[in-house]
Amino acid sequence: MSKSVHAKILSFEALGLSKSLSESLNSMAIQRPSQIQIACIPQILKGRDCIGGARTGSGKTIAFAAPILQKFSEDPFGVFAVVLTPTRELAFQISEQFAALGASMNLKQAVIVGGMDMIAQALALQKRPHVVIATPGRLADHIRSSGEEAIAGLRRVKFLVIDEADRLLTPGFAEDLEECMNVMTKAKDRQTLLFSATITQSVMQLKESFRHIFVHEVPSNSISIPATLDQRYLFIPTHVREAYLVSLLTLPINEKKSAIVFVNRATTAEVLKRIFRSMDVRVTSLHSQISQRERIDSLGRFRAEAARVLVATDVASRGLDIPVVQMVVNFDIPADPDDYIHRVGRTARAGRTGESIAFVTEHDINRIKAIEERVGKIMTKYELVTESMVIRDSLQQTSNAKREALMDLERENSGSLRKKRRFEGR
C-alpha cells in the first residue's frame, strides 16, 4: 500500500463499510483506517480469502471484524462466523470488540474457551449465536462430545478467522484445528481469513499454492516492531535478575508506569508475584496454572490499573490490547524470536510510545542475537539501573523474599506443579 492511497482514504465508508458500522467505529475513537484495514477490508468484502500480516497494535481485529459484520448485516443467520484464537483472554477481548461494533445490529455471540462450564457453552451453541469466538481445544471438545444440535450451526459457517495464525498453525494445535475444520463448511463455500503480526514461512507458502488468496504482507522484517517502541537490554547474571527487576520497577521514573513482566514458566511467574507482593508492589499474575476465573480477574485488575505490574507467561504475549502498558520486561528471553515480537508488542500500541527491557543473562547471548537479527535492530543498554543501586536497595531483600516464596510454593504444592495443577488463589 502506497502512502498516496493512505492519504486518499480517510474514512471507513470509502472502504465500502456501511454507515452504521463506520459510525460505531467512530464512536470507538477509531476515525481513520489503518494500513492493514485499507488493504484488507475491500478484499474481504469482495469475498476473497485473505492472509493479513501487520505489526502489533495496528488494528488487525477491526480489519476482519468490520467486514464480517458488514456481510452479516446483509444476510444474518445462525453461526455466521467462527473466530479461532490461541488464548482464552484473547477470545474474550475479540468478543468485546465484536460486541462494541455489532451493538447496533443486535449481534449475538458465544465465547467457547476452556476453563469454563461446558454445558452452558453447549446450550449457548445450540441457540445459534451469530459469531462464535473460540479456542480450538474447547471447540474440538464440543464437536466430539456435545452432540449434533450444538454443532449443527457450525456446518453453515460463512467466515472462518484464524487469529494469530502462525501460533495456531503449529503442530500443537493441528489436531484440534483439523477437527474443527472437518465439521465446518468446505473451504470454497466459506471465506478463510488468517491474521498475525508474524507470518511464518509455512503459512506464506500457501500463497504459492492458492492463487486466489489476497495477501497483505508485513513489508519488511523491521516493521513488525512499532517505531515508537524503545528497545533496551540489561546484561546481568542469572541469579540477580529478581533484584534487578525489583530495582527497575521501583525506580522513581518507573514507579507510576504499568508494566508487563514476561517469563517462560508459570512457576517463575508465581515466584515473582510473591516477591513483588512482599515488596508492596501492586502485582498480579497471568499464567496457565491458575483457574480461569482468576485469570480473568487478574487481567481485569491489570486493565483497571488496580495492579501496576502483571507477571505473565506467553498466554498474555499475543493480541491482548491494554492501552495503559508503558513497559514490557522480558525477564526470560523467549526461544522463538517471533514470541519476542509479540511480547514487546503489548506496549507502544496504535502509535503510543513504549519501552521494552530484555534481561539478557550469560546463557541468552544466542537468543538475543537471533532476536536482533529478526527485528533488524540492535538494542541499546538500559542505563538507569546500576549495580550499586541494586546492591544497595534490593539485593538482599529480594533474594530472601525469593527463597521464602520458593519454599512456600513447595509446601503448598508438595511436589510437582503438574500434579496439583493449581496454585492457591488470592
Binding site: 473451504a187 511464518t200 500457501l206 492458492f210 526461544a335 537471533a370 546492591i391 533474594s399
Partner: protein
C-alpha cells in the same frame, strides 16, 4: 459420686447448648475478648493445676475450663490447619510468667516447648520438675487415651463434642480439624451455611478405659439425646487409637515446623553468600575497568607520542575469556507434522 455430678452437669449443659444461638453467642463473646480470657486463664491457673492433679468436683471449675477450651477454639479457628495443634500452647505460654502454673505443664509439653521456637529463649526457661512430679506426669500420660472421630457431624462445635464425650469420663484436650478454607469460601459464595465445619477430630480422655468405653458405645450409633435436637439422628464414627498419645499428634507438626525454619535459615544464608559473591565480582569488575581505562590512557599517550596511525591494541584483560557459558537454544521454525500439513492443505481448499 463424681459420676452422678457429671451427669447432672451434662443435663444442664446439654439444655443450654442444644439451643444453638446461645452457643454461638458464647463463641462471639469469647473471640474479641481473647486477651481477657487469657488473663482469666492466668488467674485460674492454680485452679486448673489442681484440676489436673485431682478429680474436679466443682461445677464452677468445669465452667471455667470450658471457657478455656473455647478460647483455645477461637485461637484454632484463626490459624491454618497444620498450625492449630500447637495453638493449645499459646495459652500456656502466657501462663509462664506465673511461677505456679509452670508445674502444670505436662512433661511432653515441656519437650515440645523446647523443640519449638523458644529454644534457648530466656523467657522459656522452665523450672525443673521434681522426680515425683515427673513420675506423676508420666503416669498420667500413660493412663490417658485418644479417640479419633473420622467425621464430625455438620457444623458441630468442639464444645458439643466435648459435651457428648464427657458423658463417659473426663476429657483433656479436644482438637477438631476445620474444613478446607476453599470449600468454606465456595459454600458461602453459593449461599450456603456460614458456620464453620469440621472434618475430623481427636479427643483425649484422662482415662483410657473411659476412652475405650466411649468408642465402643458410640461408634456407629446415633447421638441421641432429646428427640428434637439437631444432632439426634447423626451417627458418630469413633475409634479408640491403641498405643497413641496426644503428643504423637503434636510432635509431627512441631518437627515439620522446625525443619522448615532450619531450611529457611540455610536457604537465606546461601542466598547471602551468593549475594556477597556478586558484590565482590562487581567490585572487581570496577577495579579492572578502572585499571584498563588507565592503561588505555597511558597507551594512547605513548602511541600518540610515538606513532599516531597505529591502531589501539586491545589490552590483555579485554580479550581474556574467563569462562564459557552454555547457551540456550534458539527455536526458529517449528517443524511441521503430518497433521499440520493436512490442515494447511485444507485451509483454503
Amino acid at each position: 459420686m463424681p459420676d452422678s455430678r457429671k451427669r447432672d452437669w451434662f443435663a444442664t449443659e446439654g439444655d443450654a447448648s442444644d439451643s444453638e444461638p446461645h452457643n454461638s453467642d458464647d463463641q462471639n463473646d469469647v473471640r474479641p475478648q481473647r486477651q481477657s480470657v487469657v488473663k482469666k486463664v492466668k488467674q485460674i491457673a492454680n485452679v486448673k493445676k489442681s484440676k489436673r492433679r485431682e478429680t474436679v468436683d466443682n461445677n464452677e471449675e468445669k465452667e471455667e475450663s470450658r471457657v478455656i477450651t473455647a478460647a483455645k477454639g477461637s485461637n484454632k479457628r484463626t490459624r491454618k490447619v497444620d498450625s492449630i495443634l500447637v495453638s493449645t500452647r499459646k495459652d500456656e505460654s502466657d501462663e509462664e510468667n506465673d511461677d505456679d502454673s509452670e508445674q502444670e505443664q505436662s512433661e511432653e509439653e515441656t519437650d515440645d516447648e523446647e523443640g519449638l521456637d523458644r529454644d534457648g529463649n530466656a523467657k522459656g526457661i522452665l523450672r525443673q520438675l521434681s522426680t515425683t512430679e515427673l513420675e506423676d506426669n508420666r503416669a498420667k500420660i500413660e493412663k490417658s487415651g485418644v479417640v479419633y472421630l473420622s467425621r464430625i457431624p455438620p457444623y458441630m462445635k468442639p464444645e458439643k463434642v466435648r459435651q457428648i464425650l464427657s458423658r463417659f469420663g473426663e476429657l483433656d484436650r479436644v482438637f477438631l480439624a476445620p474444613e478446607d478454607p476453599k470449600s468454606y469460601a465456595r459454600r458461602v459464595r453459593f449461599g450456603g451455611n456460614k458456620k464453620r465445619n469440621f472434618v475430623e477430630g481427636w479427643v483425649e480422655f484422662k482415662d483410657k478405659k473411659k476412652a475405650k468405653l466411649a468408642a465402643s458405645t458410640l461408634n456407629g450409633n446415633i447421638i441421641g439425646g432429646r428427640k428434637g435436637s439437631y444432632y439426634y439422628d447423626d451417627i458418630l464414627n469413633i475409634k479408640y487409637l491403641p498405643k497413641f498419645k496426644w503428643h504423637h499428634l503434636t510432635e509431627q507438626i512441631a518437627y515439620e515446623n522446625q525443619v522448615r525454619q532450619a531450611k529457611l535459615r540455610a536457604e537465606i544464608s546461601q542466598a547471602t553468600k551468593e549475594n556477597k559473591a556478586f558484590i565482590r565480582n562487581v567490585e572487581r569488575a570496577k577495579m579492572i575497568a578502572h585499571i584498563q581505562e588507565k592503561k588505555q590512557k597511558k597507551q594512547a599517550k605513548t602511541e600518540h607520542a610515538v606513532k599516531s596511525e597505529s591502531k589501539p591494541v586491545p589490552s590483555a584483560g579485554e580479550i581474556e575469556m574467563r569462562r564459557n557459558f552454555k547457551q540456550r537454544n534458539v527455536v526458529m521454525q517449528k517443524d511441521t507434522e503430518e497433521t499440520m500439513e493436512r490442515v494447511l492443505k485444507n485451509i483454503f481448499a
